[in-house]
Amino acid sequence: MKRNFGSALLAICTLLTVSSCSKKEGCTDPTATNYDPDAEKNVGCLYEETYAVEMHVHQFLNDIELEEEMPYVINGVNTNLNLAQFYVSGITLVDANGNEFKQDGLYLLVQPETEEYAIGDFPAGDYTSVKFDIGIDSATNHGDPSLYPIGDPLGAQTPSMHWGWSFGYIFMRIDGEVDSDGDGTPDPAGAFEMHLGTDHYLASIEVEMPISIGQGLENIVHLQADYTSFFTGVDMVNDNTTHTTDNVTLANLLLDNIYTMFSPGEE
């Protein structure tokens, strides 16, 4: 027994000696471009040049820049939009070879009063499309908003972008009033709410456009969000309200419309 222990100790010592002698040289940082998973001794790493990128979301309705509390005619009906906002997450730039560069943990709450959103750092290069989700991935969707401070997109909002009962975020929230009595003026009786959410309504969008990131470039992804498309086919007077589960038919129509409302934006 004692002898076995001695030989085991010897073996370990030998191993240690051998391994320290033959440490493979290379880059040991997984975030580097020349990272070598087998490397044990760091002899230098190379890093990609990255640049802070912004997404500019140009929001339109009837070819007019979207503003809340403004009168619009939607599908022939005089309408006031009191609130129009949605979550964007999973922002990914795709290059010509199909390589994807995704920003994990980034959630934007896109509102009409704000066009410019920082979307983190991306490597220099030419990209051919941007992918993103309207909504929030399931794991984060059912997390606790109280764990984020007020002001964080995932924190509590006013008006609320969250449902307590299903415990998930409202991916897209459109509130307003329509002219329900035909006198030409939107009225409280014509109040409507279009609240889309639950994991089933996460919309994964891809918009093809050339995006160049690098030194001396503007490094902006211009995206157009056209609410005219969002409201296509909606009966603004008689069937204008859904909290998703209580009017699945309208929710499904709006989800279909979300897939058509995004296109390359102009500077």
């Binding site: 908003p145 007020i150 307590g164 009962w165 415990f167």
Partner: protein, 336 residues
Amino acid sequence: MRKLISILFLSAILVSCSEVIPEEKAYELQIPPGFDVPQIPEDNILTDAKIALGKKLFYSTALSVDSTISCASCHRPENAFADHLAISHGVMGRTGFRNAPSLQNVAWYTVITMDGGNPSLETQPYVPIETHEEMGFNMVLLCERLNTDAEMVTSFNDVFGSNPDPYGVTRALAAFERTMISGNSRYDQYAYQGNIHALTAEELQGKDLFFSDALGCANCHSGFLFTNNTFENNGFFSDYSADSGRARITWLHEDVGKFKVPSLRNVGVTAPYMHNGQVETLDEIIDMYAAGGSGHENQSGFITGFSITPAEKEALKAFLLSLTDISFMQNPDLLE
């Protein structure tokens, strides 16, 4: 090396600072005989001060948009923290579509709310605060309002080291709710406290019926909580289009009409019954189960019908009423 030492030193200070506050006044739940030890989330350790703040919030009308109702408006102490109305009245006379459940023993519940859509006691407060038909308010605006109340600001800072915010509101409410423990009914005195005289002969007969295979009540209303914490369609209704229950969360047809099995503790003071409050008496409930339910396609396999004599029915009801815990409803620690 010096840098490393200073980092270690710094973290040692940080650790000691963060540990002093909560440990000092840790609160130990009074667990009744026969009950398990409930799981308390690591980020919501109970303290006297936190529970006191939660109680203050629970009874505060500031939580509703027009400052007219508090949690206790619908979770009334005299009804074992349930409501006596079929559908509770929210702000401005608004009504929702479900019966307010009792908050007794929520510390043990693994399912919060009737459809299980909300994951924990810490997340549940968003439901009443922000639901249009309940308090009709908003968490951000509530925190702004609480920040104008000097007493609240002081209490939040004492407990959480920060001004009123969603984290503090939800944690404090959950902490107080965990102290709503009911485990001292006459049945408990008989079953868990060694008092063999606590139940009458009729109640004992009812107890045997309740736990019998023939009636099978305890298939669902099991354990010390008198619920198996699952979802069942109890066959009370044939149409669930007004409220699909668990299916509202899962979107599964097989979950239509399924609701959380409620505890039967204090069932004598929590009428009216069922998810919509449409059933007023225990007689109606026993009759429905005896008849074998409505035959809804998702009806629980446990609802198969049984025969029961009038005397047996009285005995069963007597047993159910022995689950009433007066000391719970009169517990000064829970009352305003």
